[in-house]
Every structure is written in structure tokens, then in C-alpha cells.
Symmetry: C2
Subunit: 199 residues, 2 copies
């Protein structure tokens, strides 16, 4: 479904997985290319062979995270548009958030927040939201074409879902209002049921 996953060579994918483990272990603030190299079991030079800077590596990591997200949604739901929407919500806005998932969301938000001041992160965050919105929009369009959803403005639904999920994710990571996230999840599902005529 959606865009084909980018082509990551096995060496690149290994580097991205090492970056992921380093981010979980050290957090964004204490991340360094040295630590990623340690995690990878290779030299710093081998990383700088692929990337000019930590920033370049981390902006690519955001793209890798979206690729993994899309591949996981596609593997789980195939072409079923309603299941796709539910799975996207389960991943972005689960009713309860497991510890590793919480750490991943925090790391993604820390990286995205660099976009407030760094153009390279802004570009990566823009692409990330473009792709997430496209995943939702295409599922809505497919459901309308298949006659399982009411005819509606798929782009508006996609942007609404993305903004609400992003906002709840952001609030969950920056406040102690955990119950609010579950309330928003329920409300967002009710909005989709109503707007798409889902039962």
C-alpha cells in the first residue's frame, strides 16, 4: 500500500537499527555518533562514510521510522481500509502505552522538535506528516471506492486524524494527562464512524 518502502541496503538498515537502540538507551540528548558506532560494533569512520553529520543520520532515521511504520501497517491490514485506519490509530494513539512504545514516541518527538530551529529536521518532519496523512487519505479513498465508507472529503479526514493523533501523542509525552489520551482515542474513533458511516 501507499509509497513503496525506500530501499535500505542491509548495511544502512543495520545502522538505522543501531541508531534506534542508541536512542532508546541514551535518549536524544546523550546520543553521539560514538555511541551509535559502539552499538553497531563498527568504527565512527564507517558511519561518517555514509553520513556527513549526526544531523543527517537522524533526519534519515525519521524516514526509516516512517518506512517501518508503513510496512508494519501494510503487513497487519493488507488492503482493508477500515482495518488500516484502526491499525494507524493503534500505533499512533494506543489506549494504553507500553514502555518501549512510550520511549519511541518520546524519541520521535525529540527529533521532530529539532524542526523548530533546524531546517533539515523541518524537512524530515514535513515528509513524515505528508506520508502519514497519505496513508490515512488513501485508506479513506479506498473505502469510498469500495463502497464501505460514505463519500466524504478524504483529505480533510486524513488531516483531522493526523492532527488529533499528533496532538494527543505530544500531550501524552509532555503532560501527566494520560486519561485524556484514551478519551481522545475514543472520540477520534467516534468521529471516523460518524464521518465515514462505519458501524
Amino acid at each position: 500500500m501507499n509509497e513503496p518502502a525506500s530501499d535500505w541496503s542491509e548495511a544502512e538498515a543495520e545502522l538505522m537499527r543501531a541508531t534506534y537502540r542508541s536512542l532508546l538507551e541514551h535518549g536524544y540528548a546523550d546520543l553521539s555518533v560514538s555511541r551509535i558506532a559502539d552499538e553497531l560494533g563498527k568504527s565512527k569512520a564507517s558511519i561518517y562514510y555514509h553520513y556527513d553529520s549526526k544531523e543527517a543520520l537522524l533526519t534519515d532515521f525519521l524516514g526509516f521510522a516512517v518506512d517501518r511504520f508503513e510496512a508494519a501497517v501494510a503487513a497487519e491490514t493488507g488492503d482493508d481500509p477500515s482495518a488500516t485506519l484502526d491499525d494507524v490509530l493503534d500505533r499512533l494513539l494506543p489506549r494504553t502505552l507500553e514502555e518501549e512504545h512510550r520511549q519511541v514516541q518520546t524519541v520521535i518527538l525529540e527529533l521532530r522538535t529539532r524542526a523548530l530551529t533546524k531546517p533539515a529536521f523541518r524537512e524530515a518532519a514535513t515528509e513524515m506528516d505528508d506520508r502519514l496523512a497519505a496513508t490515512v487519505r488513501e485508506a479513506v479513498e479506498t473505502g469510498i471506492e469500495d463502497g464501505v465508507f460514505d463519500d466524504t472529503d478524504a483529505e480533510a479526514v486524513a488531516e483531522h486524524v493526523l492532527a488529533t493523533a499528533n496532538g494527543a501523542m505530544y500531550a501524552r509525552a509532555t503532560t501527566d494527562r494520560e486519561a485524556a489520551a484514551a478519551t481522545v482515542r475514543d472520540s477520534l474513533e467516534a468521529y471516523l464512524d460518524e464521518t465515514l458511516g462505519r458501524r
Copy 2:
């Protein structure tokens, strides 16, 4: 409406306004107590008399920002629940964002993002969202009591509106997807019209 505004002495309010101007001028990264003191035209010692640390001052600043927000909404809309909801959306999620407003939102997000790692900011962000959600919830409750809105779950509506507005604000500050913000604003109004039975 809502909570009574906190009681800021004139000296405290002056300090908060100087903090606001310093944040707009220097951004969060280059902010210092010295710069706030310069802006205030007083000594650093006079600031440390009130606050132990820059962090304590800035978490209070988030409370000051919410006080100003609530006072502005109340002054603009009085007790009209539908006007209150529209005014909240105009302030959080305007269709086009003026430059100063954009800077203010960026500064607030930079401060809130400290909550990812700093408990004091997390507490301030929690209180901020509690109060914003209460503003929306109380407007919805008033509208239901007055018979101008359909009977509905006011808390769910409030959390939905807040998450969507926060998400769109966050995306606007961290991406180049400016058109998406206007799309979300339209969709959020349509959601309110539908859910509350507004014409």
C-alpha cells in the same frame, strides 16, 4: 469565566512581560536571566529575589500565558458558549498565522518540549492543558445547559478539540504543511457543528 485569573502583582506581571519580550527577541535557546533583567531594566538580583532559577521563572511564564489566554477569551466572548469555542479556535488555530503569533506559538512549544525531560515543565504543561480543556468543556456544558447545543459528552469534545488544535499547532511549527492547518481548522469546526448541533 472559568478559574479566576491568578493574582499577579504589578511587579510580577512586569517581569512576565519582560520575559515574553525576551523570548520573542532571543528565542528560548538564547534566553538568559541577564537578558530578561536588561529587558526589565532591573538587576539580575531583583529577578532571583522572586525566582530561584530560570526554570522556575519559565514554568511560571507558562501559567502567565494561560492566564492571558483565558482573560482574552473571556473579554472577547463573555458568556456566549459558541463564541467562546470559535474564539479559542481563532487563538489556537487561526486559518492564517501572523508573524508575532507564530513566534509566540513557537516559544510556547519550545517551553512545553522541555517537559520531555524536566518534571517542572511537565507539571506546567499538564496544568496548561487542564485549563485549556476546562475552558472548552465549560463552554460546551454552558451551551448544553442553555439549550443551544445538543446534549453530548462535554469532556470528550473538550479533549478532542484540544488534541486536534495542539496537534495542528505543533505540526504548523515543525513542518512546512501550512495548508494542512487551515484544513484541520475547517474540519474541527465541522466536527463541532455536527457534534453540538450548531448551525
